[in-house]
């Protein structure tokens, strides 16, 4: 038995505690979401029926099981409010992810071409806002975008507009906030792939007669696609369920699903419908989540 193999046994034992933790606090809770999504709303604490009570014996549990229904899901697909919420979430996520890619790629590309000793500094500069609070960064934009905020002042001073423009509670403000908040998530994976790229490949392309532009599209861009995929998934998936940014920056006339879920839960106290909304949201994200999981696993485990 080699030294390497002796090490695997205790390493596997190390998995036990985190495995149980994630099972208990990540996987099992989804079971509760699923169960309550099949229950009915009630004016009680907790605000749903049936409540499973194992101490009541098998018959009671059986009765409770029989009371489960798909009504909440029927409501979700028949009520425009929810359908539109889901559509809006997907559209907002797709549009913002595209903008993020358009802005993030040139920045990551520029970073990868910096002299080596500056690359670390540039990476630090991207990471710092990523560590700074989401909420604070959105609040910073509210400062700037409000009616008598800095942006309107500058626009008025430059005579670009004759009266203050309404920025807050608009979709533009929301897109700005999303792009601003998620930009580091796009730049970092792009930079990671671009920085690893072999310069000799570009030289070869040039020796074979490519112009720099051709070399970019024929060599650099195709090779950076894993980074593009990582950045896109890292942004798209959480944006679909985003709550804080649309809540603070967008208008209240059309809601994203994260907001609808929040509203059902905290304002309407309709836990079953909120749970059903979460289940559907999860189903929408299953494919991107699986892709993301594959990518993440390949990235982290190929180094082994």
């Amino acid at each position: 038995m080699s030294a390497r193999n002796i090490f695997t046994r205790p390493a596997r034992l190390a998995a036990i505690a985190p495995w149980l933790w994630m099972l208990l606090f990540f996987l099992v809770p989804f079971g509760f979401v699923l169960k309550i999504s099949l229950s009915q709303t009630a004016i009680a604490q907790p605000p749903y029926v049936p409540v499973f009570d194992l101490t009541q014996g098998a018959a009671a549990v059986k009765a409770a099981l029989a009371a489960l229904s798909l009504d909440n899901f029927k409501l979700l697909v028949s009520d425009d409010l929810y359908v539109l919420s889901y559509l809006r979430s997907l559209v907002v996520a797709a549009v913002s992810t595209s903008i993020l890619l358009l802005i993030g790629y040139p920045v990551a590309y520029g970073m990868a071409r910096l002299p080596q000793r500056w690359q670390g500094v540039a990476m630090m500069l991207v990471i710092v806002p990523f560590w700074t609070s989401f909420l604070i960064r959105i609040y910073a934009w509210i400062n700037i975008l409000q009616h008598d905020g800095l942006l309107n002042k500058i626009l008025l001073a430059l005579h670009l507009v004759s009266a203050p423009v309404v920025w807050l509670s608009t979709d533009s403000a929301m897109y700005l906030g999303i792009v601003y908040s998620y930009l580091p998530f796009m730049i970092l994976p792009l930079y990671a792939t671009l920085a690893k790229m072999e310069p000799a490949l570009l030289e070869a392309a040039s020796d074979l007669g490519s112009s720099p532009r051709q070399a970019f599209w024929l060599v650099t861009f195709p090779l950076s696609l894993p980074g593009v995929a990582a950045g896109v998934l890292l942004c798209f998936i959480p944006i679909v369920g985003e709550f804080v940014i649309p809540d603070l920056l967008a208008g209240s006339d059309s809601l994203m699903i994260g907001q609808t879920l929040w509203l059902e839960f905290f304002t309407n106290k309709d836990w079953p419908v909120a749970s059903a909304a979460a289940v559907v949201l999860l189903l929408l994200l299953v494919v991107p989540l699986i892709l993301y999981d594959r990518l993440q696993r390949r990235q982290l485990e190929q180094a082994r």
């Binding site: 099972l23 606090f25 970092l188 679909v240 985003e242 804080v244 949201l281 082994r304």
Partner: protein
């Protein structure tokens, strides 16, 4: 010659970097500057002043929320670092074991999972087991989220490590545990420290999951800030945000020193 020109830093690169960083930093700089504004109107400049910082320190509810956030952050980051490091060791050294795919799936999914789903599902669990909501429920929720980030940071460090060092230690008669403690642990210590700090700042930052899992009377700082921000911009909030930014800046400087120390070993930096 043309080949050199191909990977030279072009004016286009310079402009995109300048614009990108200006976009990332200007709003924060403006926020910080306005926190020193003497005027009650956030948008009118009334000279430099520390008035709003004083206001914050007199705001009992805010201070309590900040203290709560600090305790939750420190406790959950410590738990998350322990569990996340164990998970990283299992994934990068454990080869195949039963439930491995499920395990890594459970660890990577929360990184991108919309927070409303994580928050709601944990709350339903806490309600089902009749747990009293407050400090511990938020701490458990934050531990669950942040241990995944710790696992990724530590795992990428472990993956970059030269395993022949561990093997040499065992060839020299160390048992695996001893080899791990004497050789591996010191080498990954900077990544573990960075993981702790990342977990702490993520916890300090979280609004959505904390809103779901907290109970009456135990609001965290983001929950307080959020309810104030919904009512409009207040200079006091600028001051609080500036203090949080300052705290995080200190944490980042420490973390970057730690990772610089770790890179002295000559490995690639973790992407996160």
């Amino acid at each position: 010659m043309t080949a050199r020109a191909l990977h030279k830093f072009s004016p286009f690169n310079a402009v995109s970097l300048a614009l990108g960083f200006a976009f990332l930093y200007l709003p924060i700089v403006i926020l910080v500057i306005y926190s020193f504004n003497a005027s009650r109107l956030v948008t009118v400049w009334g000279g430099w002043s520390l008035r709003w910082y004083g206001e914050f320190f007199r705001d009992r509810a805010m201070i309590e929320a900040a203290w709560m956030s600090f305790r939750v952050g420190a406790t959950s980051a410590t738990l998350a670092t322990l569990l996340g490091t164990l998970a990283a060791v299992a994934l990068s050294r454990g080869a195949r074991f039963p439930g491995r795919t499920l395990f890594s799936g459970m660890l990577y999914a929360p990184l991108v999972m919309p927070e409303v789903i994580t928050g709601l599902s944990l709350l339903l669990l806490f309600v089902a087991v009749n747990a009293e909501r407050g400090f511990w429920t938020v701490t458990i929720a934050h531990t669950t989220l942040t241990l995944c980030f710790v696992a990724v940071v530590v795992q990428s460090r472990l993956g970059a490590l030269d395993r022949s060092l561990e093997e040499a230690a065992m060839d020299l008669g160390c048992d695996p545990l001893r080899a791990f403690v004497a050789v591996t642990l010191p080498l990954i210590a900077p990544a573990i420290a960075a993981g702790w700090m990342l977990a702490f700042t993520l916890s300090l930052d979280d609004l959505v999951i904390a809103s779901f899992t907290t109970g009456p009377g135990s609001a965290t700082l983001p929950i307080r800030i959020y309810s104030e921000v919904r009512l409009g911009v207040k200079p006091e909030i600028n001051a609080i945000c500036t203090l949080v930014i300052a705290l995080i800046a200190v944490v980042i400087v420490v973390a970057s020193l730690a990772s610089k120390w770790s890179r002295a070993g000559g490995e690639r930096a973790a992407p996160l």
